[in-house]
């Protein structure tokens, strides 16, 4: 990791490394609620088939994941577990927050048990709005993330603004 984060690599090598990260995003499916189904449709449905883009939905363990899609309502009881699983992922890691609930609480904005936005717990790279977003929206979020990864500068990674799909 030190290799990539020091940011002193020659440009072509950085490009190559970025490209390999772009095309090999092993995604950890964090299906929490309704959006999990649309995420499942994007990942497992032959109609959407996210594997085309090089996003491999194999890993069942966060240790092998590069990307996590938090899809669904985050409750106060779940929040510590989310934080913990995020910390178990190896760097460089990316987070897509899918759906209104994960973005901001959605229709449960006034609930006593719902965390209003997963970005209170972990940093988010891409917001996909919708309740639930269509699988196409998630695919667009992934493509936008891939574009960002391709031009990514590791040292500037934490200073960039998150992507909002459709904004």
């Amino acid at each position: 990791m030190g290799l990539v984060e020091s940011g002193k690599l020659p440009k072509p090598l950085t490009g190559l490394l970025n490209m390999s990260r772009k095309y090999s995003l092993w995604v950890y499916q964090w299906g929490l609620a309704c959006c999990a189904l649309e995420m499942g449709a994007a990942f497992a449905s032959p109609r959407y088939d996210v594997m085309r883009l090089g996003v491999i939905p194999f890993p069942a363990s966060p240790r092998q994941a590069d990307l996590v899609v938090v899809s669904g309502t985050v409750t106060d009881k779940m929040a510590p577990a989310i934080r913990r699983l995020y910390e178990q992922m190896p760097e460089p890691k990316y987070v897509i927050s899918m759906g209104s609930c994960a973005n901001c609480g959605g229709p449960y904005w006034d609930s006593y048990s719902v965390t209003k936005g997963v970005d209170q717990i972990i940093p988010v790279d891409v917001y996909v709005p919708g309740c639930p977003p269509r699988p196409e929206a998630l695919l667009e979020g992934i493509v936008m993330l891939q574009e960002r990864i391709l031009n990514e500068d590791m040292t500037a990674r934490w200073t960039e603004e998150p992507i909002v799909v459709g904004a």
Partner: protein
């Protein structure tokens, strides 16, 4: 609703022997423990019993009258919410109060539903008889000074989680429950959310755009006038 349908329903009112018979059957078994009953013809039966008979009723219903299917166990808080309908954001209310427009304080008189009630909290449960398709709703008053009911687990083991939910949401203790821990909420959570006086914090601080739904829709007058024209 057309007039013909109304007539049909009135006919149904007169002849709901089935439910009356069921009620009679239950009354025979329970006797004095029944405080009040209510039959909505063609719909349902409500029976209010004393709290002491809560478990006996379950036993009678399950073992003698074949109501083997436990539908649910829950409770109602009959005290109206001190926050009114809680549809208006408290922020907005404060603003209008500053302008001298003070809303009426909510009516805090307790009105209970079918089969009556004398106390703020009432536990209610529903059991079904799957063979004949009958069902009955049981209610029992829980006095304010002793918020507790005996457990139904020995009769209906499925009551376990329902009762945990009851304890957590209403703060009504269930005596004899083997595992009286919180079911849903994290351990540090304070309060009993389903009580009417539990405030939803987000509503205290954020304006609620959904309120416009119950106001008159824009263009409504136009629609009516166009209907009148045509």
């Amino acid at each position: 609703m057309s007039d013909v349908e109304t007539v049909e329903e009135e006919v149904a009112v007169e002849v709901d022997h089935e439910r009356e018979a069921m009620l009679a059957e239950i009354s025979d078994e329970l006797g004095d423990e029944i405080v009040e009953t209510f039959v909505k013809p063609g719909d349902d039966v409500w029976i209010r019993i004393t709290r002491d008979a809560w478990v006996t009723t379950a036993e009678v219903l399950k073992n003698k009258l074949d109501f083997r299917f436990l539908n649910f166990v829950s409770a109602i808080d009959w005290m109206p919410s001190p926050f009114g309908r809680d549809m208006d954001s408290q922020v907005d209310l404060a603003m209008s109060a500053a302008q001298g427009d003070v809303p009426d304080p909510p009516d805090m008189t307790i009105e209970t539903g079918y089969a009556g009630g004398d106390t703020r909290f009432q536990v209610f449960a529903r059991v079904n008889d799957v063979d004949s398709g009958r069902a009955v709703t049981i209610k029992a008053d829980v006095p304010d000074d002793d918020l507790s009911v005996p457990t139904w687990i020995p009769v209906y083991p499925g009551a376990n989680w329902h009762e945990r939910e009851l304890m957590e949401m209403f703060g009504i203790a269930v005596t004899g429950h083997p595992n009286p821990r919180k079911l849903y909420l994290p351990g540090a959570f304070e309060g009993n959310p389903m009580r009417k006086d539990f405030a939803l914090l987000a509503r205290r601080i954020k304006p609620w755009p959904g309120i416009v739904d119950v106001e008159q829709m824009p263009g409504e007058d136009d629609e009516e006038s166009s209907e009148a024209e045509s």
